[in-house]
Amino acid sequence: MNLTNRDYVAYIRKISQRFEGCGEYITALDAATGDGDHWTNINSGFLKLVEMSEELETLSVSDMFKKIGMTLMSVMGGSSGVLYGSAYLEAAKVTKGTDTITLPILKNILEAMLAAIMKRGNVQPGQKTMVDALCPAVEAFSAAIDRNLPEAEIIENMRKAAIKGAESTKDIPAVRGRAFYQANKGVGHLDPGAVTMSYQLDTLGEYILSAL
């Protein structure tokens, strides 16, 4: 696997299309436990990235991530904006000087993103947030690389773990964000931030598999 900027931007287009099509579902999830604005925010963030796609393709990998981070931070706003902003800015740091994204580099990127989100959000796995999709995905990815599994299998494991992780948020009581204020802490409802995170990892994996 060897992804270029052009590939990453192609992935951004795909995930933006996916977000465009799931507005009602995500907004309904968010209305149950949150402010109801998560989809509007994340969708407008990725639409903005698509608008900038030509510019993103001309940058280095690191500068592209930096630009994505700054853009998501300001366009998305709210909690998700600063979390995705922190994640991509950290990804920019670990990709300084790299021209393409190999599997080990992708592992570094995802680990850096996870660490950044946990630090900025002061959040641990098991607290009904996007971390519950990202953390198991990163773990599955690392474990599969360590076992020298074939590339396609590494990616598949990552996708599955992300989706399963997002589903696990249904039974978790919230300690952060608005769901925390509910009497039952949002138990019985999926965390919309975990769902949209799992969509991104799933679509990224799907794109990589198609490009392998």
Binding site: D35, G78, G85
Partner: protein
């Protein structure tokens, strides 16, 4: 959805433009959601902000004796770090800036990230976190208590202290003291609609109210049938007083009272509630030093109220009485 707007996506910037046209002492930094004083204070700067939809919070509290700059995010959504940094830059006169943050996950993350970035540019920044809503249990594990109308007293008192020429550490000290001594509790009677969403965030039946609901419609502690003003006063005050008494004294003390409307409760009702709150306080042996009745921390067009008590000592009284020319909290 019936609202006086042009486009749901433009409400924040258009509101701030209108606000700055109505107040010759402030400027609107276009595209950044920032309202700041036209002239730098030369003193410690006070910056607050948060999601829009709580007007006059926070832009209406910019003025001499109160905030130096207010940063607005989208409706009910924290402003991003870039906007907050703009607010910090506007407020900074070289003596440091105090951020007054309401305790929500999004605000905390965005304001502290802005602080981290501003410090790289050698601006001295510190912050306080307001958590006055006794409807939520305080906790170090979770986000804990929300910041609601009591935040306005923190703006007033830290702003007055900064205006006196005090250093950042001193301004922070009185802000922390205010936070320790302020408690609020709210009650909602109807929902509100975020313009970009177009539908109400929750539904309350015609004869239903929710005690302890947050200023973004976060769930409260109990839904009940509509109560009388006297019952509402007692219900809210009982919880506030009980919370004070867990850690400090409140009976025989002097307090400032704020009767805050959430947006569409008429002043008539707020005054009736004020009458009943004051009667209740007298019965409880709590002395009222000063009362504020009006819309201070709203929730779009939500109907309902919150009651805030700030326990006062001489220092807080003096700072509360100091002049302010912020249109949302004028003190001559």
């Amino acid at each position: 959805m019936k609202k006086i707007i042009n486009n749901p996506n433009d409400v924040v910037e258009e509101m701030l433009e209108g606000l700055s046209l109505a107040n010759p002492n402030v400027i609107h930094i276009k595209g950044k959601g920032v309202i700041s004083r036209k002239e730098k204070s030369g003193k410690v700067g006070i910056v607050s902000g948060g999601g829009s939809g709580h007007e006059p919070a926070h832009a209406g509290y910019v003025g001499r004796g109160m905030l130096d700059a207010a940063v607005s995010g989208n409706v009910f959504s924290s402003p991003d770090p870039e906007r907050i940094i703009e607010g910090i830059n506007q407020a900074d006169s070289g003596k440091g800036v105090l951020l007054v943050i309401k305790n929500y996950s999004g605000d905390l993350m965005n304001f502290t990230m802005a602080k981290d970035i501003a410090e790289m540019d050698d601006i001295l920044v510190d912050y306080v976190v307001v958590k006055d809503d006794v409807a939520v249990e305080d906790s170090t594990y979770s986000t804990g208590r929300r910041g609601i109308a009591g935040t306005v007293f923190v703006h007033k008192i830290s702003g007055a202290k900064a205006e006196s020429g005090a250093e950042l550490t001193e301004v922070k000290r009185v802000a922390e003291k205010t936070i320790e001594n302020v408690r609020s509790m709210g009650m909602a009677m109807s929902s509100c609609t975020i313009p970009a969403i177009g539908k109400p965030g929750f539904v309350l039946a015609d004869d239903e109210i929710e005690i302890g609901m947050g200023i973004h419609g976060e769930p409260g502690v109990a839904r009940t049938k509509i109560l009388t003003s006297k019952e509402i006063a007692k219900n809210l005050l009982d919880r506030i007083v009980e919370d004070f008494e867990r850690t400090t004294t409140i009976r025989n003390e002097e307090v400032a009272v704020m009767i805050n409307g959430l947006g569409s409760s008429p002043l008539m009702e707020l005054y009736i509630l004020n009458r009943d709150v004051q009667e209740c306080l007298t019965e409880m042996g709590i002395k009222v030093y000063k009362s504020f009745v009006g819309n201070y921390m709203t929730s779009l067009e939500m109907a309902g109220c919150s009651v805030t008590l700030l326990k006062l000592d001489n220092e807080l009284k003096d700072l509360l009485d100091a002049p302010s020319d912020a249109p949302g909290f004028l003190v001559k």
